[in-house]
């Protein structure tokens, strides 16, 4: 019975436990942490069951309430969905385990409500990737966004303003998405993705459909932080609390890339997105500009977390550019990069959170001699940094390889140059941190660094173990990438 109902259970467990968290917190505050871990463990188990079922039996259709689509709401789970579900639940479980010490330090009296919004955020993401209905996606997009705004606003100095700007731009994005749904509904009468895929090909010449598609793309680009609509991202992710940025940063932009893939290839057939309109050309240029802009702006940062935010913006450029190249190999690379980027960004922000917890500061200048003080954390950081640069056998190398291969096959040399330029810039960025961290610049920073030097020790175990897990996952995904591609990603690539 669990296997049949597993698709619904994934979202329902996260949702019901989110609603029950204030009750648990009222009983005893310390129980919230364990309650969150229990709920996410159950959701992760269900999502692994769903992935297993999809790999063996094909696409799952789960009807809510038993009503047939398009009159009722339907869950459609294919390989792309199932992969995203496992990624989201796995990431949130790791961040939940990681979050104990950092939440207790940064938000000492508000842990109960923080964990409630944490679970609601995860519910929102899960609801977005699992559904097959456009309006249902909007509702869950708003759940995820609202909890994101609130989580970010509880951060350090200047966080409420960053959250407010994110709120305004995020609401513009969601409203544009809703306008797109409205325009499509007006000429088709349906909200179900599979039903629209059958009705729309007769309407591709209609101006309403064109405007709807354009508004979808702009709304999703705002949520995805595609350059130049990225203004909200650096402030919001830098000033958020460490556990919140470790949860939101890996997931929000990648879920938006997933929505874009769904709209471009499931609702509108590939023929529309690639041949009829020059959408993929626009996406290719947008991706190239995003990679260059993100890389250049990351070089100019003095703050570690802010630098990571610009690395995230560049990574979004990889995925969007990969879709823009529009052949099967490059889209395979883009989907593999979604998986890799979730893991890499989680690792980067987890290390940033540990450093913030220990040093109360996330500027690069404060990282003197951390390699000696925190060897294990910085070992994990090295693995993640190698993956972002793209060194085999870490996973980052393989997704870059597919993207480069795809763009060479399509003759897009600009994209290849952008990818290589980004790798070079990443080498400079991370080596700067390694250099600051390895050598003791105590001579110039003198007494301050030496007094702190004896006090700072290794990170607490609850924060260290998830980081190690992420580093191990990066290497394992890299080693097993052929297995993942053959069994999951090959089926997720749309037939062009």
């Amino acid at each position: 019975m669990i296997i049949e109902q597993a698709p619904a259970l994934i979202v329902v467990i996260a949702l019901m436990s989110a609603v029950a968290t204030p009750l648990v917190g009222w009983l005893r505050k310390d129980l919230c942490y364990f309650w969150v871990i229990l709920a996410l463990l159950a959701s992760t188990l269900c999502s692994v069951i769903v992935l297993n079922t999809v790999m063996h039996e094909g696409v799952i259709h789960y009807r809510m309430g038993g009503w047939l689509p398009p009159w009722g709401i339907e869950y459609v789970i294919d390989h792309l969905n199932a992969m995203m579900l496992v990624l989201i639940t796995g990431t949130s479980l790791l961040v939940a385990i990681y979050s104990k010490k950092s939440v207790e330090t940064e938000l000492p009296d508000r842990t109960v409500y923080f964990y409630t919004l944490f679970l609601l955020q995860v519910t929102g993401f899960l609801g977005i990737v699992i559904t097959g209905d456009l309006f249902n996606l909007f509702v869950f997009l708003e759940i995820a966004s609202l909890s994101g705004y609130a989580l970010i606003a509880t951060g350090e100095e200047g966080a409420p303003f960053a959250a407010f700007r994110y709120l305004i731009l995020g609401t513009v994005g969601a409203c544009f998405y809703l306008l797109g749904v409205g325009y499509l509904y007006m000429v088709t009468g349906s909200l179900n993705m599979a039903d629209l895929a059958e009705i729309l090909p007769g309407l591709y010449g209609s101006k309403v459909v064109l405007v709807a598609f354009a508004f979808f793309m702009v709304g999703i680009a705002l949520k995805m932080a595609l350059f130049p609509l990225h203004m909200w991202l650096p402030d919001a992710y830098t000033k958020a609390p460490s556990a919140a940025s470790a949860l939101i940063a890996p997931l929000m932009t990648k879920v938006a890339v997933y929505i874009m893939l769904r709209i471009m290839f499931t609702v509108f057939r590939p023929y529309f997105s690639i041949d009829l309109l020059p959408v993929t050309k626009i996406l290719l240029y947008a991706g190239i500009i995003a990679i260059f802009a993100g890389a250049v702006m990351a070089l100019a940062q003095r703050d570690f977390k802010r630098m990571l935010c610009y690395v995230v913006i560049a990574e979004v450029g990889y995925m969007v550019g990969g879709v823009g190249v529009a052949n099967a190999v490059a889209i395979k690379g883009a989907i593999l990069h979604i998986m890799n980027d979730v893991v890499m960004t989680l690792g980067l922000f987890a290390v940033a959170g540990i450093l913030n917890y220990k040093m109360k500061n996330h500027e690069i200048g404060a990282f003197d001699n951390i390699f000696k003080k925190m060897p294990y954390t910085m070992a994990a950081f090295l693995v993640v940094a190698l993956s972002v640069i793209g060194v085999p056998p870490t996973c980052g190398f393989f997704s870059k390889w597919y993207l480069i291969q795809g763009s060479v096959m399509a003759g897009n040399w600009t994209f290849v140059v952008a990818l290589l330029f980004s790798s070079l810039v990443n080498i400079i960025l991370f080596f700067r941190i390694i250099e600051t961290g390895y050598y003791d610049f105590g001579a110039s920073g003198s007494g301050h660094a030496h007094e702190e030097g004896t006090a700072v020790s290794e990170a607490p175990l609850s924060m260290l173990i998830p980081t190690f897990f992420v580093a191990a996952a990066i290497i394992l995904i890299g080693l097993y990438n052929q297995f993942i591609i053959i069994n999951i990603i090959n089926f997720a690539v749309p037939k062009l």
Binding site: A18, M186, G189
Partner: protein, 96 residues
């Protein structure tokens, strides 16, 4: 900044109006939205859901999952307000 905002709004508005050229007329009973999915709601609501109010029938039965999502949205907003606005105990005591 203000002129940039004005230009963006005018372009977006013009683009939306360009889309209205192919739209079905206002109030057309044969528009796609009135023909495709909703007739079944109107004709079968009484028999399948025993509710004369069709909007309630759709909201609570056919698309009840959206209503659950909407309830969770309100809950999220409530929790967000508590998280953001509740004054801490020492500040509350100091104000008294």
């Amino acid at each position: 900044m203000k002129t940039l905002g004005l230009i963006v709004s005018i372009i977006a508005g013009a683009f939306l109006m360009y889309g209205t050229i192919d739209m079905p007329d206002w109030g057309d009973p044969n528009s796609p939205a009135s023909i495709h999915v909703s007739p079944r709601y109107i004709t079968n609501a009484a028999t399948e859901t025993a509710t004369p109010n069709i909007v309630t029938a759709v909201l609570a039965d056919y698309r009840g999952y959206d209503t659950l999502g909407e309830t969770v949205v309100i809950f999220t907003a409530g929790m967000a307000c508590i998280l953001l606005l509740r004054r801490r105990k020492d500040v509350r005591k100091a104000r008294r």
